[in-house]
Symmetry: C2
Subunit: 213 residues, 2 copies
Amino acid sequence: MEKQISNAVIKRLPRYYRYLGDLLENDVVRISSGELSSKMNVTASQIRQDLNNFGGFGQQGYGYNVEYLYEEIGKILGLEKKNNMVIIGAGNIGQALTNYTDFERRGFIIKGLFDNDVSKIGKRVRGIEIYKVDLLEEFIKKEDISIAAITVPKEYAPKIASDVVKWGVKAVWNFAPTDLLLPDDVLVENVHLAESLMRLSYRLNAKQRGDLL
Amino acid sequence: MEKQISNAVIKRLPRYYRYLGDLLENDVVRISSGELSSKMNVTASQIRQDLNNFGGFGQQGYGYNVEYLYEEIGKILGLEKKNNMVIIGAGNIGQALTNYTDFERRGFIIKGLFDNDVSKIGKRVRGIEIYKVDLLEEFIKKEDISIAAITVPKEYAPKIASDVVKWGVKAVWNFAPTDLLLPDDVLVENVHLAESLMRLSYRLNAKQRGDLL
């Protein structure tokens, strides 16, 4: 099956998943695209269009079965599989990610943290051990790691990212404030916190100047 | 001056700013849009077009003066002003944000952390005190806080966000995995980490299925 799903749709899918998860927690059994639309602030036709990319899932006059749709979107997102992860950099962000138990519930299994700081080696975060970076190559191969979160300072990020890719990692979740240059077949998702804060500041400033937003 | 700058441009501005900052650190005095283009993986005409929104800044045949352009983009982003911030939730993410000295360099001054956990009250992160949430209203008014970072669990986020807005906060940097419903004139920037990870997982899964990406 070959098809091209737009980035905009991919961006919205996790949001559908989150809303459906919230509905499930509140024991909602079914929902119309209209109700989902007003909750999510997306038009109903947008929702139908988005989900039609994957085959629909709704029934005319009935709406969506919340649990079924939640599970199907979970499958599309690859969440029914286990994805083994490492976190490189056991600083604040690395430890924060490790402490998010939500990731594990969704199949992202953090197998180890890695750091260069000898005072951290051997310690544990939520039971997960911090290892020396020297052990990373062997660990990635042995533990079948597909995702690496990079939370090291920006000057170390490009080298460690290209190393882990060489050792078999397929996807990089990059928190370092730099763009990684990696082979085209490597998936990269950037979380640039400073840029996010600057966008907020831009809008705050533009508003004070009286620009349209 | 009233003008409408597209979201796509606003998204790219902090990235220009970051690249120019890196160039400055490496003592680069000027750069052509062609060189900047190949570094940033954006077309040269895109760069010229983006910057023309704000008046250009380049000179035909000379290129851009790096320091000047860096400073001008900084002004557009509102970084020459001080923005006072609070962080609500002194957990891992809240502490990680507090430890980013980069934010302060760019004019984002974290004035205080707030938490409900009595064992945290009175402690300091990078010298910045953790206060009881009860003190937030007074603090926001006294310290002229314009930005609140929300790093509390999702069930507490909507209430605390609407409270801080009532007390005078103009911009919310939201890390809770929920959409905040706030008045239209409040600026919100969401950092949904779980959604970011799910997008990575989607693409990993789609690639394994053989979909086009």
